[in-house]
Symmetry: C2
Subunit: 364 residues, 2 copies
């Protein structure tokens, strides 16, 4: 409950009486309980001077307790007015909030108006920055899970490479990967697994399909797993058969760009400079126009979280931040290549979580 205490202390320091936290990822971060309640109310209620509680759909109450939450849990049914139940529980704690913190990036306007009606005299502040700042810096317990998630992602790419064969479809390879992951106890991938081949690699957001793999194709894997609530995200591009000189040149350019950025990671460097480090390599090689997205994104409970590694983000990296580095070149006439690692900022440099080789793998 260290994280919960940190929120409580934040409320005390800032004279905020109550916080209602409703983002599923933040609920998990604070309570260990992960659930997507859809339109139903799931919230952690934290107070300056009273015991916290969770309100959850009634059928999930046992799961909240099983997740290790030792505070109060209140269930609500579809036929209940869930916010009314919250207001009663707050009153029972003898709390009469004059200032309330919510996640302004998650709480919708309807709920906000409802809360404003329940507490018409209260002022409202955002809790987003505080929670993001907490989540931005991973503790050792979180890094352990991220390492394991990355290790499984490495293995998933290995499985994918093993599955590549003339005439096999992208989807067949994808299913083989996911099945192997499920056997390893992975219940969810971080996002839709991507296996793209040949010309389809040239789209940064392609859809795997029934295209049959053939000699001369590059095959791109972009995938990750969720392990105990934490995500990995790896991309590797491999060659099925001998690559052409042009394919190899593009590959090596991306590889140099990626490595340059990885090598530059350390506390104090700005996100924008890291983006520039990789982008410069690609631009100097003449492919700048084909690198059409940011360098990377934060990684943790969410597969896209802070910090964002893009050319206008002045944030300085700090020890404990975790993010992806994933430059790419998407050349419509040759091939697409993307290489992506998950990295941790350490006291004096970088720890790379994903370890699948980055030398061009030639298969078959």
């Amino acid at each position: 409950m260290d994280k919960l205490n940190e929120v409580t202390n934040y409320l005390k320091e800032n004279g905020i009486d109550a916080a209602f936290i409703t983002t599923p990822d933040n609920v998990f971060y604070l309570s260990g309980f992960m659930s997507d309640p859809h339109e139903r109310l799931l919230a952690v209620a934290v107070f300056k001077d009273a015991e916290p509680f969770i309100i959850a759909p009634k059928m999930e109450v046992p799961d909240v307790k099983a997740a290790g939450w030792t505070g109060g849990v209140i269930g609500h049914e579809d036929t209940d007015d869930a916010w009314e139940i919250v207001a009663n529980a707050v009153k029972e704690r003898d709390v009469h909030p004059a200032s309330i913190a919510v996640e302004k990036v998650h709480m919708n306007v309807e709920r906000f108006e409802r809360l404003s009606t329940l507490y018409p005299e209260a002022s409202f502040t955002g809790l987003d920055d505080k929670l993001n700042a907490m989540r931005n810096i991973k503790g050792e317990d979180e890094l352990e899970k991220l390492r394991k998630a990355a290790e499984l992602a490495d293995y998933a790419v290995e499985v994918g490479c093993r599955e590549i064969a003339e005439g096999k479809t992208e989807l067949e390879i994808l299913m083989a990967i996911e099945f192997e992951m499920k056997k390893k106890g992975v219940s969810h991938m971080s996002f839709d697994t991507m296996v793209l081949s040949g010309p389809k690699t040239a789209s940064p957001h392609g859809n795997p399909g029934t295209r049959k793999i053939q000699k001369g194709d590059f095959v791109l894997f972009d995938l990750g797993v969720v392990w105990e609530g934490y995500c990995s995200d790896i991309t590797r591009t491999v060659s099925f058969g001998e690559p052409t000189d042009k394919q190899r040149e593009i590959y090596e350019t991306v590889r140099r760009a990626e490595q340059a950025a990885v090598d530059a990671v350390k506390p104090g460097i700005r996100a924008m400079d890291l983006d520039k480090t990789a982008r410069d390599v690609i631009t100097e090689a003449g492919y700048g126009q084909y690198f059409t997205h940011r360098l990377g994104h934060g990684l943790g409970i969410s597969v896209h979280e802070f910090p964002s590694i893009h050319g206008a983000n002045e944030i300085e990296l700090q020890e404990g931040m975790v993010f992806t580095i994933e430059p790419g070149i998407y050349h419509p006439d040759v091939t697409g290549v993307r290489i992506e690692d998950d990295v941790v900022v350490t006291a004096d440099g970088v720890e790379v979580l994903t370890k699948f080789p980055k030398e061009l793998q030639i298969i078959g």
Copy 2:
């Protein structure tokens, strides 16, 4: 663009100058373009007296056009201030909105505050009820897609039944189903496919795992596919080997409850009465305490949408509404059984979209 015109007319009738629609499902409903932009801005801007436009992440602009959207499309990059771009585009159209409609159930407080800062004089109203009312009643074009999605779900259950064998794991069966769906061109399931066996059927929200199926198990499939943007959602429970009398009794109780509700569907009946129709059958059989959730939920672009079919919802069913009917009994000592159909309210009754047999299937 009929749907877009309906929104425009709604703005005219209500004297609202502009609407910004940001829910991905509603963006798809109005534009044909489906995307999850994560934290990035994706919005359809509709005006009382000016041409609509879409603002989207720059790399998705070609996809917006490919989806058939013929209005303006504005791209933004991660380094841009997307709302500033919106404000400029609005100004270029010579629109100076004094009243603005947003989806209060989707728009977050931060965006709302940003919009309020951009238009400090404007009043804000909710567009949720209008969009929900539109989406609540499916047109023939939508029903066609829902029929196809249901047909594929029927086939998925058929595949699942074929795969059942002594010693096979839930996950093996699940992967076989999803692989077959992908071969049929299904890029996404509506939600995480559920294959549960034996005692695991007694949890309404269980996780498929490596449990090996054995004779005497009930096996529960709960799954659906997305077809051209529309979802299906079917549940069937089958018996691997001869069921016990108790298993059969529970199955037949659920089946009677489900059929009673299906037979009661027609315009004018209230959602709560439909819930009661099924619940009464289960309660009278002595299993009321084991039916722990609502009867069903609306179905369309979202797998959970309006109308909600629960015991406190007084809404009267209308022709064109589509929802699930899915009573269940979750008996911890015997078995869980759920049977779920997707139904359409017709002019004089009901069309059942899911057609997999409901007589207890005995396999092996």
